[in-house]
Amino acid sequence: MFAPRRPAAASLRAISRVNSASRSRRWNSTEAPPAGGHLPSVANSSFLKPTRDVALRTNGLQWVDPVDADPTRDMVGRETRKMNMYQAVRDALSIALSKDDTAVVFGEDVAFGGVFRCTMGLAEEFGRERVFNTPLTEQGIAGFGIGLASMGHTAIAEIQFADYIFPAFDQIVNEAAKFRYRSNGNFNVGKLTLRCPSMAVGHGGHYHSQSPEGFFMGAAGIKVVIPRSPIQAKGLLLSAIRDPNPVIFMEPKILYRSSVEQVPLDDYEIPLSKAEVLARGSDLTVLTWGTPVYHCEAAIQMLKQPPPAIAEHVPAAFRGATVELIDLRTILPWDVDTVVESVQRTGRLVVVHEAGRTGGVGAEIGAEIQKKCFLKLNAPVRLVTGWDTPVGMQFEKFYMPDPIRIMDAMVETLAY
């Protein structure tokens, strides 16, 4: 981390500030979140598990090491601990490293703990041979990981921000994604996982806010996964690391600190390509992933009980509508069955994502749903997304699909 990105002057300055990000592209993760948290709705979310019992009953969670031959007793003796998302990621990495001697963790600044603290203490615990810094080269990081994985080693690489994954696009799309196919299975890089912080953070501007999952949707051969919470992050990351395919794991960076729940300490997985229904409903399906899960939760609440200031925009007839909320979790290959089953029942679909609209994931899902649910649809599939602009620094509040935009789309879809 002492390699200067800018020459002499910057490197001299860096010496006196070990932990502070001196480089323009490095968002300072060690600063405290603003009062009230980055995302107030997360703190009160009913989707986060506040107690051990609730956490252990997480939907779809699969223990990797059964404690008892009797599956009904499998939760006895399991412990949980309160963690935020970066701690849960760290916990997953620690389990992956301790159970698999070939596993290594690498990337820019991971050795001192990472700019988001996701690799805290891992270098000390597992040694610098297994948790190490790379030079500042994203195409190199991806290529290096592909080389390791092609030898059957577990390569867990970090791209510091999803915004900086594009220099590695060639290695990911032309190499990692096609490695198995082009050699007809003689070689594969299934043990490669690329982690990257993604999505908006409130003040990230163009290059600390992006959600590039849509760019990877056409890369047959890779998987793309986005968690919404600490429990999800740990379970999905362990699945991603062990999946026989290269996986891009995008962690919504605003949730690193703001999402907190009781996380089981043992080794568990949450299956990929499985969406989760977070709220049951019969009038409208809302599909999303990552940070907007919480915006959708807030929007559904607003639809039920609109604050007086906006109540006039919510017809009384819709306040009793029940909304089904689905967290897609895996973007590629996505869980079409869960979404189709839901839309067949509700007849209406709103897809919410932070990335811009054109060519986004919502477009792909919308096309597939209108094909599979044409006769059941009572309204057009509606997309609530970022606009087709870069993320303008001072305009973020108007760029993001926030609860008001989501609620408005729900009202319009219900009214269609």
């Binding site: 010496i15 030079p135 030898m151 080693h153």
Partner: protein, 454 residues
């Protein structure tokens, strides 16, 4: 000017030491009159002096050579130890390449295969660099190649059938079951990673492979990664990344740059302004050598030593082999559009790596005119038989198109798409002429889809 105090400098050095555990060159105390800056060991100087590796007056990196054009050791050269059996194997492999090349090249010209690039051939200039280096590596060193290095595979015993099945894309294609263009060979058993077209991508991958070898207790200190690339590919960002990674995260990786003077039509003078690829090695802190790539013994000796250093020190080494691409870039290229025919003819006559090595063998009494005649005849017969056999074989079954995209369970969308094509082939496979003709070439002729109830 900022001049750190001595106490400050010491403090900095301590930090550097703890933070750079892997790279691990222990910092020395500054003993220079003006001290040094924290991010380097560079002495501070008061003279304003620019420097450049491309200096006039013959200061370019020298080219290591053992044999002259007549197969005799040049003055001062030490002929590397080599046994007769290995020397003959090297020679036979060198001779085989141009024969194989000629046949495949003509097959492409006749439209019987879709594409071909010369595999480094005798009258075409790179077989010494490829075979000489192949002989210097262990058979289980991991090779990541660009696409002109099939000589390494042949040297390891890949066999002509596997070459032909890949080029024709038959159902017996062991490299990729007809999924890639010709010359994109690969073999897990022979530790030759499957070729891909994007240039330079294999270079940082090789650093990762080297690191994996270093971490594997079974192979640590025994094997290295080998990565081949042309001087054109060295202009890609991935070259920079690969060299940087293998030196900074010490990985036993041998980088072999084949500098044949051209990247398709672009001469190396338009590819770089510095002293070739070799001049870049020291910039990355990598041991580097430049070799006469038309001298198989020089290549063999240099690569053998490169491999030894690479494995002993667990670090990257760079070898630049200087050759001349006598043939066209590929079958899609007519190189006389951008260079003189005479230049090429002169080169072929004056500096032929096969002739050079044959003269060396003959001088040792290891080779004769009769053997030469017999070898040529045998190799031609073998190549001819192999291509005849492959040409008669069907392509893989059409359904293979959808296999090995993902490991594990087939995703729903691929299953749906496979079934959609299946339905269409069932519907139109006997009546839509382009499909009807093509299906006849595939194993089973698509009957699993055209027949049966839908």
């Amino acid at each position: 000017m900022i001049r750190p105090t001595r106490a400050r400098a010491l403090q900095i050095l301590r930090v550097v030491q703890t933070r750079r555990g892997i790279a691990g060159i222990p910092p020395r105390l500054p003993e220079l009159p003006h001290g040094n800056l924290p991010a380097s060991q560079s002495p501070i100087t008061s003279s304003l002096d620019f420097f450049n590796s491309v200096t006039p007056g013959g200061k370019q990196i020298p080219t290591y050579r053992v044999l002259d054009g007549a197969g005799q050791p040049i003055e001062g050269a030490q002929v590397p130890e080599i046994e007769e059996a290995l020397a003959r194997k090297i020679y036979e492999n060198m001779v085989q390449l141009p024969i194989l090349d000629d046949v495949l090249y003509n097959l492409q010209r006749q439209g019987r295969i879709v594409f071909y690039v010369r595999a480094s051939s005798a009258s075409y200039g790179e077989e010494a660099a490829i075979i000489g280096s192949a002989a210097a590596f262990a058979h289980d060193d991991e090779v990541l190649a660009q696409y002109r290095e099939s000589g390494v595979l042949l040297f390891r015993g890949f066999g002509l059938d596997n070459i032909m099945n890949q080029c024709f894309g038959t159902h017996l294609d062991s490299s990729g079951k007809g999924k890639q263009m010709p010359v994109h060979y690969g073999s897990k058993e022979l530790h030759y990673h499957t070729i891909s077209s994007p240039l330079g991508t294999q270079i940082p991958q090789a650093a990762g492979v080297g690191y994996a070898l270093k971490r594997d207790p079974q192979r640590r200190g025994k094997n290295c990664a080998v990565v081949y690339f042309g001087e054109g590919a060295a202009s890609e960002g991935d070259f920079h990344a690969g060299m940087l990674l293998a030196s900074t995260i010490p990985s036993p990786t041998v980088f072999i740059a084949r500098n044949n003077g051209f990247a398709i039509s672009t001469p190396s003078s338009e590819q770089y302004y510095g002293d070739g690829i070799a001049a870049r090695g020291p910039g990355y802190g990598i041991h580097t050598i430049r070799v006469d790539g038309n001298d198989v013994l020089a290549v063999y000796a240099a690569v053998k030593e490169a491999r030894r250093r690479c494995i002993d020190e667990g670090r990257a080494v760079l070898v630049e082999t200087m050759t001349y691409r006598v043939g066209h870039h590929s079958t899609s290229d007519d190189s006389f559009a951008y260079r003189a025919r005479k230049e090429v003819e002169d080169r072929k006559r004056l500096d032929n790596p096969i002739v050079r090595f044959r003269l060396f063998l003959e001088a040792r009494g290891w080779w004769s005119k009769e053997e030469e005649m017999a070898l040529g005849k045998r190799l031609k017969t073998e190549v001819f038989a192999a291509y005849k056999k492959a040409e008669a074989l069907p392509k893989p079954a059409v359904g293979e198109m959808f296999t090995e995209v993902y490991g594990g369970q087939e995703p729903w969308h691929l299953k749906e798409q496979r079934e959609e094509l299946q339905r269409l082939v069932h519907k139109y496979g006997r009546t839509w002429e382009p499909w009807r003709t093509q299906l006849k070439r595939h194993e089973g002729e698509g009957r699993e889809w055209t027949e049966g109830v839908r």
